[in-house]
């Protein structure tokens, strides 16, 4: 099932920017320029944005309006970026965050350790 709404019964056609490529944990995805990074990730099926420091639990989008900061990720090398309110740009690198670290978090590597 497609998660993007093409035409909304009340709001009509959903207008989006141009299709651009971005990288998530090394994998290339496409999303629409200007839409929140979190929306592009959601369309690509990515739900886990980060793991917490104390309890190592996964977090994703929760409030979607930039308040709760559960959806923060490492964007272009900078940690703690609220992906639900940060617009997607061509060529962005978006990586899963672990705690507050600015080192990209690769789950498999972490588990192998």
């Amino acid at each position: 099932m497609e998660v993007r709404i093409k035409e909304h019964p009340i709001l009509g056609e959903v207008k989006k920017g141009r299709l651009v490529k971005f990288t998530h944990d090394g994998q290339v995805f496409e999303g629409y320029e200007g839409e929140p990074i979190a929306v592009a990730l959601k369309a690509a099926g990515v739900l886990v944005h980060r793991y917490t420091e104390k309890k190592h639990s996964p977090r994703g989008v929760f409030c979607a309006i930039g308040r709760c900061t559960d959806c923060v990720m490492i964007v272009n090398g900078e940690p703690n970026i609220r992906t639900c309110v940060t617009p997607l740009k061509e060529g962005m690198t978006v990586d899963t965050q672990y705690g507050t670290s600015d080192e990209p978090f690769v789950k498999e590597l972490k588990e192998a350790k």
Binding site: E53, E78, P79, N80, G99, T100, S101, D102, E103
Partner: protein, 374 residues
């Protein structure tokens, strides 16, 4: 009427520490706090520095004693993690004038036996690679550090409470009263408290209270402001300060940076009932930080605080048994640097009340230093 051996007025870290050490020696202690919260003054609004370097020689013995004998064991002693880091203090300079100030401070501290020295730009960056190119020198004291002021204040409270100290919040002291020539009573809106010893550890408010027994403490107030960032990746563990003390701070165990600073208007700022920040200070502090630690320019500030601090006319507190008024003890006027010496002040004040020997020389902090010079 409620009685105790000692009444401490003020539940900041100083009052809490005094109460703790008194209770530990078996005293029955009551702590009266006018605010609803424990630690509402400078105790909860400071940069968390636990340092010896940069201090006035008169309070240096307290700082050195505390760092050697109390701080390293404090979390264990109080049963609460106070996040103490003994990772050194860099006091930074950028100009020749800064270098002069720092060298002066360093020389005086060395004379008192402190392990502090001047270092050059290269060595500064060896210790802390995140500092900007502008930093040209620093004083470096390896045994300095920092702790979490919020936790340390509450840790003393919690431990003192466990030892039976009775803390009463929302209880503003209205006046003091002498009975038969000796200070005995503390009068509040709700009750009269009586004790053999009364310790004023309530910051600027101590001035008005002491006046009831004819004592004037020459201090004024200033608004202290701090800010805190979101948790950042681990960067460094030292305490930082600057030659002109325009900003100071550290990265906490949590990862956030806790940084204090000034706009220059601290002494004349006003408040609206609660100590609200001035509208310009956070920006001043932020500009200062970015100049010293460029990497923090994208760190998000999540909160700022302001709190009234007591400023003694000569910049160091009064820690004394007041001979002129039997039963009165003063521990106030810490002038924004009371946190790091709080454990040592608490211990020594307790000893003073109990008539026991002090652990270090605090004669320079006596009340009678304000008497007119002959």
């Amino acid at each position: 009427m409620i009685t105790a051996d000692t009444i401490v007025v003020g539940a900041g870290i100083i009052g809490n520490a005094i109460a703790y050490y008194l209770a530990k020696k078996g005293q029955k202690v009551i702590v009266l706090e006018k605010s609803d919260n424990i630690g509402d003054g400078g105790s909860s609004r400071n940069g968390g520095g636990v340092r010896q370097s940069g201090r006035d020689p008169r309070e240096l013995p307290l700082a050195m004693y505390g760092i050697k004998n109390l701080w390293p064991y404090l979390s264990e002693e109080l049963g609460t993690e106070v996040e103490y880091y003994k990772k050194g203090n860099l006091r930074l300079g950028k100009t020749e004038k800064h270098k002069e100030i720092l060298t002066g401070l360093t020389n005086r501290a060395v004379a008192c036996g402190l392990d502090v020295r001047m270092i050059d730009a290269y060595e500064v960056r060896q210790i802390n690679p995140f500092l900007s190119e502008e930093v040209s020198c620093a004083s470096w004291c390896e045994t300095d550090g920092h702790a979490n002021p919020l936790l340390a204040t509450l840790a003393y409270y919690k431990a003192a409470r466990r030892l039976g100290v009775r803390f009463i919040t929302g209880e503003e002291v209205l006046s003091l009263k002498k009975l038969r020539g000796r200070l005995r009573q503390v009068i509040t809106a709700h009750d009269i408290y009586e004790a053999d010893n009364i310790v004023l550890a309530n910051g600027i408010a101590a001035r008005d209270l002491a006046a009831y027994v004819g004592i004037d403490i020459p201090m004024s107030s200033a608004l202290l402001e701090c800010l805190v960032t979101e948790a950042e990746p681990r960067m460094f563990e030292q305490m930082l300060g600057t030659a002109e003390a325009d900003f100071y701070g550290h990265q906490s165990k949590h990862g956030s940076f806790v940084i204090g600073g000034s706009s220059g208007l601290e002494a004349v700022n006003k408040d609206n009932g609660t100590p609200i920040n001035s509208s310009i200070t956070a920006a001043c502090i932020a500009r200062g930080i970015i100049k010293y630690i460029p990497k923090l320019s994208h760190a998000k500030i999540v909160r700022t605080w302001a709190g009234w601090m007591d400023r003694m006319v000569d910049g160091v507190p009064v820690i004394d048994k007041v001979d002129e008024v039997e039963g009165l003890y003063l521990a106030c006027g810490f002038s924004g640097h009371g946190f790091g010496i709080a454990p040592a002040v608490g211990l020594n004040m307790a000893n003073l009340v109990l008539g026991e020997n002090l652990t270090c020389d605090i004669s320079g902090l006596a009340y009678n230093r304000f008497a007119a010079k002959a």
